[in-house]
Assembly symmetry: D2
Homo-oligomer: 279 residues x 4
């Protein structure tokens, strides 16, 4: 049998799970120090997201701007693999929680990471402006040149489907208004607009900001670190995933594959052959 | 090679993925018919949840009541397996989306299903009142007797930890207020309070409504079907899952097991033995 | 702050994670009591599966029969939602482990549960034979009649695609041979063949045993409980999921939806409309 | 409504899901061209893994070496987060498939990636020997120096718990024997042993090869690309995950957190405070 230490202080065990988020005791639940019974009715869902992630209550304008970004990104249709996979999951006989987990699991570096990556570039440009004491225009120009040289595209800009993403204008208008009211300082907005201007200049087909770029600007303005860009996107897109999973459930299909029968995936491998005798 | 049908109408393929939720075209995104650019700034996150799940916009009082229920259920500490597993996931080197998927995946029938099950009982009691033309008191009494006879406990009531869940009172007060303003009709509230009264009568330790019961009453009053009780809980608890996963990420531990080293799970199986020679 | 008990015995913490499966100590790993260094090279993968699940080493014939069932179920093509979702996951920028988790997660009650459900019916029939002291023929007849009356179909029999599943014959031949050699007693084989005979009698299109039925017979003969029927299927199908995920990875597509662009899911919801002014 | 192309060739739809792995037609299932009915009984589970991943049948010695590596890595106890999370999942009321998905999902870059990373380093060293026409000793020395300079540790070597991992010796003995029989060429074995020798030289506590390093050598010798190192580890560890999940299921606990009640995670955040009036 495994030798175990004869005794450990309780604190060593409970401290393995230390947290600043939630404190519970019998009849008491406090989130970041605030009693839950005071939060219910006084705080919105985005306000609660802010509180749990940031440690304190948002100003009203901050929560409102966060809400717009989250509303904007809830859904982009069932051809998105996250949505399609969640719909397929439902038809396989799992609970809605597993269907949502399936969809959320697909929001990886490629499908869910562009916002996070855009936030990293925005932060790097802002830092470059400060560090090199250059203008936003210069910092954007140099950064885009660096990216082209490295063979990387600019995350958060360009869309295979939309020429001008309909979510761009209302979101940028909201950031402008928030800047005017002093809710945010507008530095990331300026960087984002300059990126957009420069990417599109001299091109017949412009490379507009997409939803990842627009929300990256908002989350950056609000002071979220890049990794939480993906986290916030997950919370937002979970809403669309649930709606699609629920619709699929009501449609009632069983074991739904990607294409309708009698269609089958195209087989292009080696032709039929026998297992050799010696095997 | 697999024989394939020579030709299928496009509609048979696109119709395999039919949806009422989202309509997209170049430069157009409409959710339940509404253009996304009109929704941004005019609709709250709970309002968007309602729209996507129910097909139309909520009245203001409906969205506000939904918001309270969702705010209430975001977190109950890291000893919940959904939260703990998400925190462990982060230390294993996966993205925040995978960590959230891990936590959400654990909100199964037992950990995430009590609200859904409570909604089913509430609906059955309401139907019994109508069908048998009896009072709420009688319907509750009979239903609880049936459950006792079947060896089942009443989901949504009782708590191993809290004597009186601090989320109960503000949520029930909100339903009462919503009933007074005609936002909901109060029928499920009456049923829930009668269940609570009867479960606690004559007991030294009452069996109070817990968060699953309180949110079940709200979601039932708002007209959600029971299965969406779990869906809404998932959206709400995802917020706590993200907050804990992010906190764990910042703490920086790698490959975090449930108990701190040098502690090991207790082995109670067969003692050491040799693989027999013949194997 | 939460009050904590001042001290707990180490055993209460380590005993929370008690296990009979694995015992480790520095430089020691024992599985079910056997040292890992003795198992490597003497035990096959199916043998290890048996050891960990059952607690001791299989007889050689048992491991060989288990191996055939597991080999048979590895893949049935990319139109299966478990495979398709795993392939889509890979294109979203997650690791192969997340892609496999996605596919495995879809092996729920409907997509992965038929074997388990078939094992439950087989066990119920065997029990009926003993309890009611009737013949297998009678017990099968009564059970199928009960199922028809309840509106249920017989899990593990019938296939939308194959008239005779090519995996049926080699698997049933293996059970017959194992019965002749005394590895298994053949009782579940007899029940399964009688179900197949009766379901097909008098029909122009027979209702043959499918892979779920064939493996259910084998796992039942080997003494596995029904729930492990699903567990073993998951291990087996994981192999196909990995192979498809890896192939997709090499193909290099990004954010692969279920149908190729420019196809879009068919929108059939309410037509375009404006958000009302009052919102 | 979305405009759709009026017609697409069937091939464009089925070709979106092209595959070399599996070909099915009514009554026909072929894996990599071989009919499934010929594979059942003639091929082992590791042989099937090889066939699906590599495209053709392994030589007998290749399958046997693969089997040893897979047997070795099935389990290392319930303190591993992948195992613990799967056990917790079972207590939350999800199917065994979801429990396995939970565990597998945690085998990310940190918990499941060391083997893959070790294979990448082994491949780089082998390439360096060829490219720079230097000895294995020199290539290892330079590579380890590069890693130290970059602040990276050598994946696959060293163990926090075992001084000498009991899986190392039988696995290395198997590679040596396979080399003598010409099954593999032994180049990666030589590199791995040289890494081990050099890491440990002059140290009081050696830095021995661990299970990730030992299996990385085997998978590299067998010609698998590094990413499949993780894939094979997932298949292997799934066996332990299932065994633990099943044991937990039989123990019957509900909603199992990481530490036993009455212990709670240690709260170290801001003390209790009121929500400010203006909110």
């Amino acid at each position: 049998m495994t030798p175990q230490p004869p005794d450990v202080p309780t604190e060593a065990v409970t401290g393995w799970w230390e947290t600043d988020v939630c404190d519970i005791a019998p009849d008491v639940i406090r989130l970041r120090g605030y009693p839950i019974e005071q939060l219910i009715g006084r705080i919105s869902v985005p306000g609660m997201i802010w509180l749990l992630l940031r440690g304190d209550l948002p100003a009203r304008g901050q929560a409102a701007l966060l809400e717009r970004a989250m509303v904007a990104a809830v859904d982009h249709g069932a051809q998105a693999p996250s949505i399609a996979a969640a719909r397929m999951a439902v038809t396989c006989g799992v609970g809605l929680n597993s269907a949502i987990a399936t969809g959320v699991g697909l929001l990886g570096d490629v499908h869910g990471g562009a916002g996070q990556q855009c936030m990293e570039v925005l932060a790097a440009i802002r830092e470059r402006v400060d560090r090199e004491a250059i203008s936003v225009e210069e910092a954007v120009e140099e950064t885009l040149a660096d990216q082209r040289a490295a063979g990387r595209y600019m995350p958060g800009f360009g869309h295979r489907f939309h020429r001008r993403d309909p979510r761009r204008d209302p979101l940028m208008a909201a950031v402008e208004e928030s800047t005017r009211h002093g809710v945010v300082d507008g530095a990331f907005l300026a960087i984002g607009l300059e990126i957009e201007r420069r990417l599109s200049s001299g091109r017949s087909r412009p490379v507009p900001m997409n939803i990842d770029g627009a929300t990256a600007i908002i989350y950056s303005e609000l002071g979220f670190p890049p990794e939480l860009g993906r986290g916030l996107f997950v919370l937002s897109r979970s809403i669309g995933i649930l709606a699609h999973a629920w619709e699929e459930k009501k449609q009632g299909r069983r074991i739904k594959g990607p294409i309708p029968p009698p269609l089958l995936p195209a087989y292009r491998g080696v032709p039929a052959r026998d297992v050799p005798a010696g095997q």
